[in-house]
């Protein structure tokens, strides 16, 4: 299992559109993706799950990835967060 922390630093936090982008990337991989914020866990492949974590701008999230392609998944997800969910 891989685990890393990230700061969500796009304009308005992980709202529905950003959550949608996250799910799009996460579902490309076999690995299980879990997102944790303030101790609450959500399936990283569920847009409603991510939305209900209420991740605001500047929030720190923990991402856990387990599976054969975990390294690739990690790279892709980190890239997405760095690119601020391609908002602009």
């Amino acid at each position: 299992m891989l685990e890393f922390d990230a700061i969500v630093d796009n304009k308005i936090g992980m709202h529905l559109r950003a959550a949608g982008e996250f799910v799009k990337v996460a579902t490309q991989f076999e690995s299980e993706v879990t997102v944790i914020k303030d101790g609450k866990k959500a399936n990283g492949k569920s847009i409603l799950g991510l939305a209900s974590l209420a991740i605001e701008r500047g929030a720190i999230i923990t991402v856990q990835i387990t599976g054969d392609d975990e390294q690739d998944a990690r790279d892709a997800i980190e890239e997405l967060i760095d690119a601020k969910f391609y908002e602009d």
């Binding site: 709202h15 529905l16 492949k45 569920s46 847009i47 409603l48 799950g49 939305a51 209900s52």
Partner: protein, 619 residues
């Protein structure tokens, strides 16, 4: 136990209702008049067709352990069927109204395909042997509750979509095929407590004569849909739906925002005459399209259109609009499941500008809040949204949203004449701040080598008493004024037009309103700034002659009402209107003013006065 309770209650309801229907079938046919918000113009008499969002009864039963897997398969099949159904609705809607409208259903699709919903439901079926409908109901309820707790308005609004999806899947699971029964088979007036976008989209347009809903405002989805289909709509009828049953005869008056249920013969005749009158009047008015809007002594008035969608441009031009006086940008902010991007907005503004072929387009920046955020979504949680966080106040705190919109507007300005205006201004500092942001955006875009028109005119809405009082100072900061009479009257008279107990205080020709308009027009003239009128007021012939007399030179209203305004203008002289204004400024009550204007109008244009009278009876 619970199932039993529900059942017996349900049966009792049906029985009680049958009895009531039999006993009261006579009294139920009483004529009832209800008042709402006029959302799309026109009058129609027809048969009501009631569309109810059904309350589905979810059985609290378990399946046997060995049936659990089969139940999961049944659940997955229901998801598949629903997915097909949503795709069908989406593509139908895209055909009818374009891709942007169909985007409403993107959120539905994401929710339907959500892995958490699927897995949680399946695991409930597997672990607890709940039937699929019950399991799904529990999962969705939990999600809606947790989204509701977040305190993010935007996410709360999405709860409606989530529930819409749940209903669809539940219907499949429970074998209730309500969709077909929910469609009229003959021309009908659609009556509902509230119509979701998907319900509206599924109605067979050939049979829709008009819409009447208990909830919603002028920019609710139903209102927009009605206007783009060219049928009348009255929304915000509060608790009218329970008074109507499918098959009842109703009169829907989208001009006055009224509905008459079971009209008496006399009422029916009056409306039939009014419809005929309208038809003839409209025919006659359409012959005016080629003529300019000028008074008998050749004072030219610019007639512009108020629109919400680029699709309305064609009819605006048909009716003889000389430009767009107000393009409201709220629609695609509330119609989508997410904030529109710069590109999306740019596409819409550019299409609009190109379709107007060189005629000016006035874009009002986002005026969300108050009634605007209501509509088919949820009501704003503010206690007093009309006096709350809306208009320019909202944009100056949410600069991200403001800047994105400004970028899109400036980029569209490369394709034709664009003006922009700020809503709900109360002071000079707001204008200064907003203009500073415009300068930043212009600079940014120029650096990025975008083609823009650096001289896009910047104006403000005069719609608060404060802006009227400060009009002289505000005029020094802007290129034009647009007087939003609907809000100005509400704020000045301290009256909510939707409140039937006091709506009679909403008066176009109240002495304080006329004085306010004069102050605004005078300050504008003194500073060489044009002042436009943008609101229903200019459509009323009685008010129109006063506005002409006040020296206002640009009127903007719904496209289909342009010919009527033109007719008024072409029947009078500027000189006599000025004299009329001088006289009424000396009068101290609405009554006296109305009588004076009425006498004037009757002399000048008996045709129009008849129309004005009819309208007044309608109220």
């Amino acid at each position: 136990m619970k199932t039993e309770d529900l059942k017996s209650n349900g049966d009792e309801d049906v029985l009680a209702k049958t009895n009531r229907d039999q006993n009261n079938s006579e009294s139920r046919k009483r004529e009832i008049i209800r008042y709402g918000i006029s959302a799309a113009p026109g009058i129609v008499i027809g048969t009501a067709f009631v569309v109810d969002s059904q309350v589905l009864r979810v059985p609290r039963t378990r399946v046997s352990q060995d049936r659990a897997e089969a139940e999961i398969v049944r659940f997955q099949e229901a998801l598949d069927i629903t997915r097909g159904e949503l795709l069908q609705i989406k593509s139908d809607l895209a055909d009818q109204l374009g891709d942007d409208h169909a985007k409403i259903f993107d959120a539905h699709m994401l929710i339907l395909d959500d892995v958490m919903v699927k897995e949680s439901t399946e695991s409930l079926i597997r672990a607890e042997s709940y039937n699929a409908a019950w399991a799904l109901d529990i999962v969705i309820s939990k999600i809606v509750t947790s989204l509701g707790n977040i305190g993010d308005e935007y996410l709360k609004d999405r709860s409606a979509d989530i529930l819409d999806v749940k209903q669809r899947v539940l219907r499949k699971l429970l074998g209730i095929e309500s969709e077909h029964r929910q469609n009229p088979t003959e021309p009908s007036i659609i009556v509902a407590h509230e119509l979701s976008p998907s319900e509206t989209a599924q109605l067979d347009r050939r049979y829709v004569l008009g819409y009447a809903t208990d909830l919603g405002g002028r920019t609710s989805h139903t209102a927009i849909m009605a206007r783009s289909q060219g049928v009348p709509a009255v929304v915000g009828l509060e608790d009218t739906r329970p008074l109507i049953e499918t098959g009842d005869t109703v009169v829907l008056d989208g001009n006055c925002g009224t509905i008459v249920i079971n009209p008496l013969d006399g009422t029916r005749e009056t409306y039939e005459k009014e419809i005929e009158h309208w038809r003839q009047f409209e025919e006659q008015l359409l012959t005016l399209t080629g003529y300019p809007a000028e008074t008998l002594d050749h004072r030219k008035i610019e007639l512009m259109a108020n629109i919400d969608l680029p699709e309305e441009v064609a009819s605006a031009l048909d009716y003889g609009a000389e430009g767009v006086g107000l393009f409201r940008t709220e629609y695609f902010f509330i119609a989508q499941d997410q904030l529109p991007t710069e590109e999306e907005q740019y596409r819409v503004y550019r299409t609009l500008v190109e379709k107007m072929k060189g005629k000016p387009v006035t874009i009002r920046v986002l005026d969300i809040g108050g009634d605007k955020i209501a509509g088919y979504l949820h009501n704003s949680p503010e206690l007093n949204p009309f006096m709350g966080w809306r208009g320019i106040r909202f944009l100056l705190t949410r600069k991200d949203i403001f800047k994105t919109q400004l970028r899109a507007i400036y980029r569209a300005s490369a394709h034709g004449p664009v003006r922009m205006m700020f809503p709900l201004i109360v002071g000079v500092d707001e204008v200064v701040q907003a203009k500073k942001i415009c300068e930043e955006i212009k600079h940014e875009l120029t650096l990025a080598r975008y083609k823009i028109d650096p001289d896009v005119e910047i104006g403000i809405m005069i719609e608060t008493p404060s802006a009227v009082v400060l009009a002289n100072a505000l005029a020094k900061e802007v290129d034009f004024f647009s007087i939003g009479t609907n809000d100005l009257i509400q704020y000045t008279m301290a009256v909510d037009r939707g409140n039937t107990k006091i709506s009679h205080l909403y008066q176009h020709l109240h002495p304080s309103i006329i004085r306010f308009l004069k102050m605004t027009a005078d300050s504008a003239r003194k500073n060489g700034v044009p002042a436009a009128i943008c609101g229903e007021m200019c459509v009323d012939p009685m008010s129109a002659v006063v506005l002409v007399g006040l020296g206002l030179e640009e009127f903007s209203c719904s496209p289909n009402l342009i010919p009527e305004v033109k007719k008024t203008i072409r029947s009078v002289t500027f000189d006599e209107c000025k004299t009329l204004v001088k006289k009424i400024l000396k009068l101290s009550t609405t009554d006296k003013i109305e009588k004076r204007v009425w006498t004037f109008l009757k002399e000048r244009c008996p045709d129009l006065s008849m129309f004005a009278e009819g309208k007044q009876h309608g109220k």
